[in-house]
């Protein structure tokens, strides 16, 4: 049977891609951020997961507000990045996992999550930056990725309690999949940040660290926040914490924190890297 063996939280901001493209990892500004990653890379290279389920939000590449899915997932064998408006060089395609994707879709829609199902889906920095962080030089082609996209842009958007339940449903779907494969779940984005308005630049370090603690030991506490509570505590774009909450929902068994690196700021955000190990009861 399929197993979720662990999970990762990581930032996904475009500035990381620029820093990596320009070889800035060892500069004083970036070093405290990038220094967190080798233990996670080592763990992934040792465990060699077959599939990554990756929660992210689209920032206006695949989806425009003409039609904005609340939840969307890919079921394709391959995904492409594209110009997001800044002329970023196009990067290698991301490998998909169609069979497990459809299994998840069948299972969660039957449970009541009305997912938009995509056979073609351009994936933006929200998905590609985390993959490149884990396998630098865009060497992620060997890992199969299932993109799950959550609306974090336009209200109304799904509340933390709903994204946590979505994660639970995906967790149940994976654990019921008959093939013997290992899955790791990425929750990307966040943490506290605000890009827009006179309140731009808002970061709440104490709140971020509390969220990371609760993701490990008491995720249900995070589901008590509304999105507007997250805006108040963490800034307008802190609603991206929904991706971390969804990730945590997929972990139905015992969770152990293996590694953490909180650093702020990178660009305008608080960055929370965390590696969790997961085991279902025997």
């Amino acid at each position: 049977m399929a197993k979720i063996i662990g999970a990762v939280t990581t930032s996904h901001i475009p500035a990381i891609a620029n820093a990596m493209a320009n070889g800035l990892e060892e500069t004083p500004y970036w070093k405290p951020f990038f220094d967190g990653y080798p233990p996670v890379r080592d763990w992934l290279n040792e465990k060699k997961p077959d599939v990554i389920i990756l929660f992210y939000n689209d920032h206006g590449l695949e989806f425009f507000i003409d039609k904005k899915p609340t939840f969307a997932m890919g079921v394709a064998d391959e995904y492409y990045n594209s110009d997001e408006g800044w002329g970023i060089p196009t990067i290698p395609p991301v490998t998909g996992e169609s069979d497990l994707s459809w299994h998840i879709a069948n299972s969660i829609v039957d449970e009541g999550f009305d997912m938009t199902i995509c056979q073609e889906m351009k994936v933006d920095h929200g998905l590609t930056v985390p993959l490149n962080l884990m396998w630098p030089g865009h060497k992620y082609g060997h890992v199969k990725v299932i993109p799950v996209c959550i609306n974090c842009e336009q209200y109304p958007m799904p509340q933390p309690k709903r994204t946590f339940e979505l994660g639970r449903a995906i967790g149940r779907a994976v654990e019921s999949y008959e093939k013997d494969i290992n899955v790791v779940v990425f929750g990307t984005g966040g943490m506290s940040h605000q890009l827009d308005g006179e309140r731009a630049g808002f970061i709440n370090r104490a709140f971020d660290i509390d969220c990371l603690d609760k993701l490990v030991t008491d995720p249900e506490a995070l589901t008590k926040y509304s999105n507007i509570d997250l805006v108040e505590q963490g800034g307008a774009q802190a609603v991206e914490l929904n991706m971390l909450i969804a990730m945590r929902g997929t972990l139905l068994g015992k969770v152990t924190e293996l590694h953490r690196n909180y650093h702020a700021p990178i660009s305008n955000t608080g960055s929370g890297l965390m590696l969790l190990e997961h085991e279902m009861p025997k």
Binding site: I65, Q194, E198, G201, A236, S267
Partner: protein, 120 residues
């Protein structure tokens, strides 16, 4: 008139709800088009004509002309699409932060450092 999503308000924060999405539709659609180089070139060649093509309101055109990010937010711009407009102007997120808060980019960066250390 679309209903507000919430009555809760935070100073200096523009929640992008149905009312804003309706008001800013043409503006955001124009900014979304900037994903394509051809569109960026067309805008740069004649910004006024390009704004007209997407039926921007006078207030939106004025804010585009003045690179007035706060004005664009007030007129229904979503930061995710406005970032494509400001990217076209070769401004990064700290430049935009400075523009919105009345700081220089360096002052804004210093504030981020301070906030990141939790000195608030």
């Amino acid at each position: 008139m679309a209903s507000n999503y919430t009555d809760r308000q935070f100073q200096g924060t523009y929640l992008f709800d149905g009312q804003m999405a309706k008001k800013g539709y043409g503006l955001n659609k124009m900014c979304y088009s900037f994903n394509d180089q051809v569109a960026r070139d067309e805008f740069n060649a004649d910004p006024e004509a390009y704004c007209e093509k997407f039926k921007l309101t006078e207030a939106q055109k004025e804010a585009i002309r003045n690179r007035d990010v706060i004005g664009l937010l007030r007129e229904g711009g979503s930061i995710y699409y406005l970032a494509k407009f400001t990217g076209l102007l070769k401004l990064n997120m700290q430049d935009i932060g400075g523009l919105q808060t009345g700081m220089s980019t360096d002052e804004f960066k210093a504030m981020l450092e301070k906030n990141g250390r939790g000195e608030v």
